[in-house]
């Protein structure tokens, strides 16, 4: 791991551009549906296909959503702004220009506070603007699925014209070794804010939340370095890995006297590394100009004020409030934020589990499971309600701690609900006193030495006997109850 060492020598500057597909029922400039996963080219019309003569009309809901996002990110909302055309040729863009915003964005100059290792980092926001999404191109016949080497390409315009909000940070400086964690925490917090606003389903794996990460390095006291823009960063974990990978690559290059090229780089999920895309030096001149087919957007300040007052509680505030109410410590809260499980813990408590139990599951066995699988805890195939059910069964004495883990593993493996797994695997606690007494008798008979030691005052030796009973009952007995039973039989107390 050279990342930490690299950031002793270099200072990182990061920046994030996030694209959010709004969850509006219809597209940005026409009435077409926006449902994900429909048959290709079934959600299209003359407008989103850019047919000659067609004209855009702005979806008012998209403006409202973008303003609410801006307000939640503490931005100034423009009193007058325009859309602009970004001109470039690409077959998934029906008009060969994208209707976007350029020098007159809807929202500017805000910030988002994110929690990293218990301390708050303020990420400054440059702008929030609205634009339309492009279609999707599928390159067929090549080895890589990239355009290079493909024999032909198929285009699906269902996505073309879906409203997209672009959220751009200002350069984030002074994060040092926390750079990668800050990047990840920012995207996670942003996702939570957007989810709270109910403006998008923010599913990174479906592309409704997409992220580009800018990274540069400079030696202390020197001007900022040349930045690269890493595209295709499609999970929270990848955001962190992309920053780490770029830091390590750039540091190695700088150390060997090389020069960073300003370019777009592609992130590869499989290797966790980036490869060069197109160079900015040969970048297209987008020939932006104000979109003449649309009238300027001039949100009424009174309406903006109403939207601001109706904003939901920020996730960070809600978390702080709930954490306090549940009696968890700030340190616990920080650990849960870092692991990305705080909301899961809170949801588990809402489903009825005591806070401490919920915390232990999500920071313990479930965090380990997620780590082993290389996914975020939230992506595990278990719901907070299911975790709460397991906690409930343990509390009722129907499961032991060991059995509970087996039940959870069954749920994670897709075997159904906790009750399904218990039934299928036969994991219920042995409560039959007769069977248990028999097992205890058998254990005492099998290991008289241990029994003697316990009688002689060496209580710890009871462990060997408990083990035998548990083995006999295939782990379905309650170990604590077994221990009490054994000590009883031997006439010893703790």
């Amino acid at each position: 791991m050279s990342y930490e060492k690299d950031l002793e020598e270099f200072e990182p500057v990061i920046g994030l551009e996030t694209h959010v597909e709004l969850g509006t029922a219809s597209k940005m400039f026409c009435g077409c549906a926006t449902e994900f996963g429909a048959e290709p080219n079934t959600q299209t019309c003359p407008v989103c296909l850019g047919l000659p003569g067609s004209l855009p009309v702005v979806n008012a809901k998209s403006i409202e959503s973008a303003i609410r996002i801006g307000l939640a990110l503490h931005c100034d909302i423009a009193t007058w702004c325009r859309f602009a055309r970004k001109n470039y040729f690409y077959p998934d863009m029906p008009k060969n220009f994208q209707t976007s915003q350029y020098d007159e964005p809807l929202c500017t100059d805000g910030y988002l506070d994110v929690d990293v290792d218990g301390s708050v980092v303020r990420v400054p926001i440059e702008r929030v603007h609205l634009e339309e999404d492009t279609g999707k191109t599928l390159h067929v016949g090549g080895a890589t699925g990239r355009i290079h080497g493909a024999t032909h390409s198929l285009v699906d315009y269902n996505r073309a014209g879906i409203p997209l909000v672009e959220i751009v940070t200002k350069p984030v400086v002074g994060t040092g070794v926390k750079a990668a964690a800050v990047a990840k925490a920012y995207v996670a917090e942003l996702r939570d804010v957007l989810r709270g606003l109910e403006v998008s389903d923010v599913r990174m794996e479906q592309g409704s939340l997409r992220c580009d990460v800018n990274t540069s390095l400079n030696r202390p006291g020197e001007p900022w370095g040349t930045r690269t823009e890493t595209k295709n960063v499609n999970s929270l974990r990848s955001v962190e890995r992309a920053v780490r990978s770029e830091v390590e690559r750039q540091a190695a290059l700088l150390r060997s006297g090389g020069r960073i090229t300003q370019e777009t780089r592609h992130f590869h999920e499989d290797t966790g590394t980036t490869s060069p895309g197109r160079s900015k030096e040969e970048a297209t001149d987008y020939r932006y100009f104000p979109e003449p087919d649309l009238v300027p957007v001039a949100p009424d300040p009174a309406w903006v004020k109403e939207l601001k007052e109706a904003l939901p509680e920020a996730p960070s505030v809600a978390r702080k409030r709930l954490v306090g109410r549940l009696g968890l410590s700030d340190l616990d809260a920080a650990a849960m934020v870092n692991a990305g499980v705080l909301d899961l813990v809170l949801a588990t408590t809402q489903a009825g589990a005591p806070a401490a139990e919920a915390r232990n599951w999500w920071l313990g066995h479930l965090a380990q499971s997620a780590n082993a699988a290389g996914v975020e805890a939230g992506e595990l195939a278990i719901t907070p309600a299911q975790v709460a059910r397991v906690v409930e069964l343990v509390a009722a004495g129907d499961l032991t701690a060991g059995l509970a883990k087996q039940v959870v593993d069954g749920v994670l493996a897709g075997e159904g609900s906790p009750d399904d797994v218990i039934a299928a695997r036969g994991l219920a606690v042995v409560k039959d006193e007769g069977a248990l007494t028999a097992a205890v008798e058998a254990a005492l008979a099998a290991d008289p030495d241990a029994a003697e030691k316990v009688r002689g005052g060496k209580v710890a030796a009871v462990g060997a006997l408990v083990g035998r009973v548990m083995k006999e009952t295939r782990g379905q007995a309650d170990a604590a109850a077994v221990r009490v039973l054994l000590l009883d039989k031997l006439g010893v107390s703790d």
């Binding site: 850019g50 003569g53 001109n87 040729f89 020939r287 100009f289």
Partner: protein, 487 residues
Amino acid sequence: MTDLTRLTAVETREAITSGQASAVEVAQAHLDRIAAVDDRVHAFLHVDADGALAQAKRVDAGEITGPLAGVPLALKDVMTMEGIPTTCGSRILEGWRPPYDATVTARLKAAGVVILGKTNMDEFAMGSSTEHSAYGPTRNPWDLDRIPGGSGGGSSAALASYQAPLAIGTDTGGSIRQPASVTGTVGVKPTYGGVSRYGLVAFSSSLDQAGPCARTVLDAALLHEVIAGHDPRDSTSIDAPVPPVVDAARLRDVTGLRIGVVKELQGDGYEAGVTARFEEAVETLRGLGATVSEVSCPHFDYALPAYYLIAPSEASSNLARFDAVRYGLRVGDDGVASLEEVMAKTRAVGFGAEVKRRIILGTYALSSGYYDAYYGQAQKVRTLITRDFQAAWSQVDVLVAPTCPTVAFPLGAKLEDPLAMYKQDICSIPANLYGGPAASFPAGLSDGLPVGLQVMAPTLREDLLYQVGGALEAALPAQAPTLSWES
């Protein structure tokens, strides 16, 4: 029986309602007329005989009524019509049949208007002679060796050769008014946003405006009323009542109206015959009770260069969609050529020289590093021209000028000299940059060729145009082409 093709729209409707002729007979008479003369005029690119007769039958069955029900019309080929070829005079759209009606088309259909077909035009409305059509030029019915104006030469020639009593044009820098001027017909460019652009294949979005063309002022007003009005599909459409254009056309009185003659739109470069007819028309209006004064609009001198930055800039973006991917022409797709190669080849073959010239001009004007000096500066000029108009409205009710500095010129005369061609629109462009309404009305002949008087009014004051046009029409001697080539 009277020749149904010689009737005005008003007379046609009267003939239908009085039972003198059926709508089908009217439609058939015009289809016959097209069959008889259009091989020489070449006003139409596509004739929709079946659709026209079917619509006429609906009118005869009483399914649609209204002042223009059963009246034939020629639709400029820049306007979409479901299932009917729309080429914009370009090879690149060859074979494309739009799956939807333009709002104008839909309103015409709903009003019972019988759409005969699609008329020829300069490719993507770029030109002043219709010689830039990829499908060959249209000829002026007054003299077949001369141009019918452009870009809407097909529509104006259809009117002047009695192939249709009504037509739709579009005007970005004069494409309704200049053809009207050189064919002795009436052409009105409404206020920008007065008529929906939905389905009008864009040349320059901030300037394009569809409008009515006819042989009489009242006919134009009736057509205006059918196509104008707010359309939620066009964001730039104005949500306001349509000005009372029909009443204004019937008024035939300009008593007390203050008319301003634009100082900058006369003098050098204007043909003597044009100037003479123009001055005579102004004197006629004075005689009818209007007051006349000269008004200076100093920034009009910069209108042409500003226009030739703004319109090509927008066009370079609007025409980017013609890329062989989704519709229209595709050239060089041999399974080996790359996407970029197919796009480039298709555009090289599909676009004519004038369109390419303007795409290059506009691409350059919008380029990084040049934007402020060209596009940005042109927008400032546009603002100054708007201020000239606003200042004028404090002195006068309407402005007048010749529509065009010349009468119809011979085919080919300006084809090799783009700048000379561009200057055809020197008088018409200011109104487009401002956005207010403007019209061309017949103002007599110069050496047997028509001259047009242009009237410009404040935004949403189309009624003033029709008031002046109606009065002038009643006061000037009737004029009609001899059509000597027919015999």
